[in-house]
């Protein structure tokens, strides 16, 4: 079992791009109410600049990360770095929720007008925090949820400090493999086009594991092809470098590299010409994980994403690639070659492997 299921930094992607990357949105979504913004970007001290997702408030507005990258079991934590552009106006509105569709109940964190945070377990209010938070500054809200037993439990941390102690409610146990949907909501009503901002999202797959703050997720662009660990004939749509067509931000599906006649075990590997510290612009004290997310088409093919260092690779789950853009991803919390922690001196590689055609 891995601990981090998803670590997401928003890029300059439109809602259409994100949908192509496996995100789901309210059915009424248009790019008018969701757009990336650099104005309110979440940037950790010393970190490169980034983006934040923005969402306008409205009934039933939400967005959900790819199901493929969410925990397989009905427990975990959802950590979102978020802020709002104006004072809270709804009396109570969800920030983030974990939902089981079979039982149709949530474990959720709500914001109150006062800035306090409310905890719901089994869709029943359990507590309101003793502290009122200023959400016009970036806040890291983490909800821990466990639906695996007949007694559900949940708790909330804000900025790494417990705001709502663990509370329980008698429910029904949700079995292994049941999908728990994560949803993020705009929780302020404002005339601003981007009233609620999301700077980072990390989903973990165990209730008990801590969710440290002061970390951040960021995107590093690939800048080299690794011919030694590439098989098959990969041809960019223009130019001669595969990495140059897939390292874009935002995602543009018109740009690509392809294996026109793929065979099982064909692999495209791309990497970096410098180590992580150089690419980041600072030396990180800790690197929790390196993730690789790939987006491809190839009806009836199956494929998997990989993160490697040298000839050793950690692969994600094999998935069926559809005729539309399909996500495959992997999180490598340790170096595949040694099982040790990643460091700024490492130069990981990203791999895309055709499993079957």
């Amino acid at each position: 079992m891995i601990a981090i299921s998803l670590a997401w930094a928003w890029g300059a992607d439109t809602v259409t791009d994100l949908q192509g990357m496996g995100w789901t949105f309210d059915t009424g979504v248009t790019s008018a109410w969701y757009a990336p913004g650099a104005t309110y970007q979440y940037v950790a001290p010393g970190a490169p600049s980034g983006y934040s997702g923005g969402m306008r408030w409205g009934a039933n507005m939400y967005m959900s990360p790819p199901v493929l990258m969410q925990p397989a079991n009905a427990e975990g934590s959802i950590q979102v770095v978020t802020r709002i552009s104006a004072a809270l106006t709804p009396l109570s509105w969800p920030i983030v929720a974990a939902h089981n569709s079979t039982y149709n109940k949530v474990i959720a964190a709500y914001a109150q007008t006062s800035g306090a945070v409310a905890l719901y377990v089994d869709s029943v209010w359990k507590s309101t925090s003793a502290t009122a938070y200023n959400f016009t500054d970036w806040r890291t809200v983490t909800i821990f949820y466990d639906m695996t037993g007949a007694t559900w439990k949940g708790r909330i941390e804000v900025d790494g400090v417990e705001s709502n102690a663990e509370a329980t409610d008698a429910a029904i146990a949700i079995g292994s493999g049941s999908v728990i949907t994560t949803r993020l909501y705009p929780y302020v009503s404002s005339g601003s086009a981007l009233a609620t901002h999301f700077g980072m999202l990390v989903i973990r797959d165990t209730y008990a594991e801590s969710a440290p703050v002061g970390r951040y997720a960021t995107i590093i662009q690939l800048d080299s092809d690794v011919g030694a660990r590439t098989t098959g004939t990969w041809t960019p749509d223009t130019g001669s470098d595969s990495f140059a067509r897939i390292n874009e931000n935002p995602l543009d599906t018109a740009n690509y590299t392809e294996e026109a006649s793929p065979s099982a075990s064909d692999v495209l590997t791309c990497g970096f010409t410098a180590n992580l510290a150089t690419k980041l612009g600072f030396t990180p004290g800790t690197i929790d994980a390196v993730a690789c997310y790939t987006y491809s088409t190839g009806l009836n093919n199956t494929a998997k994403a990989g993160v490697g260092d040298g000839s050793s690779v950690t692969h994600g789950a094999t998935g069926t690639i559809g005729s539309g853009t399909t996500l495959a991803g992997v999180i490598a919390e340790t170096k595949p070659s040694t099982g040790g922690a990643w460091a700024g001196t490492d130069s990981p590689e990203a791999a895309y492997t055709v499993v079957s055609v």
């Binding site: 939400y62 149709n104 959720a108 006062s114 719901y120 209010w125 309101t128 003793a130 502290t131």
Partner: protein
Amino acid sequence: MLYFYAPSFTFPGPMGGDCFAPGLRVGDAIEAAEMPLGSSSPHYDRDLPRFVLACPDGTPTLSGWESRTKEQVEADYPGILGGV
């Protein structure tokens, strides 16, 4: 610590099912309440339905709320308070 029984306010949850929170009585209707900082519910009585609330000292008794002593709560719902 102050204890109250509060009516249950039902509202659409974020994903379709109903959610339940302490409410206010306004005439014959139950409306949403802004819950005081540091308040919690050691028990939700689904049969009545109502919330048992544990609130910080100084919390006013809102419309429709019934103030109770710790002993009264323990008599009505044995064992739910624990350390609350």
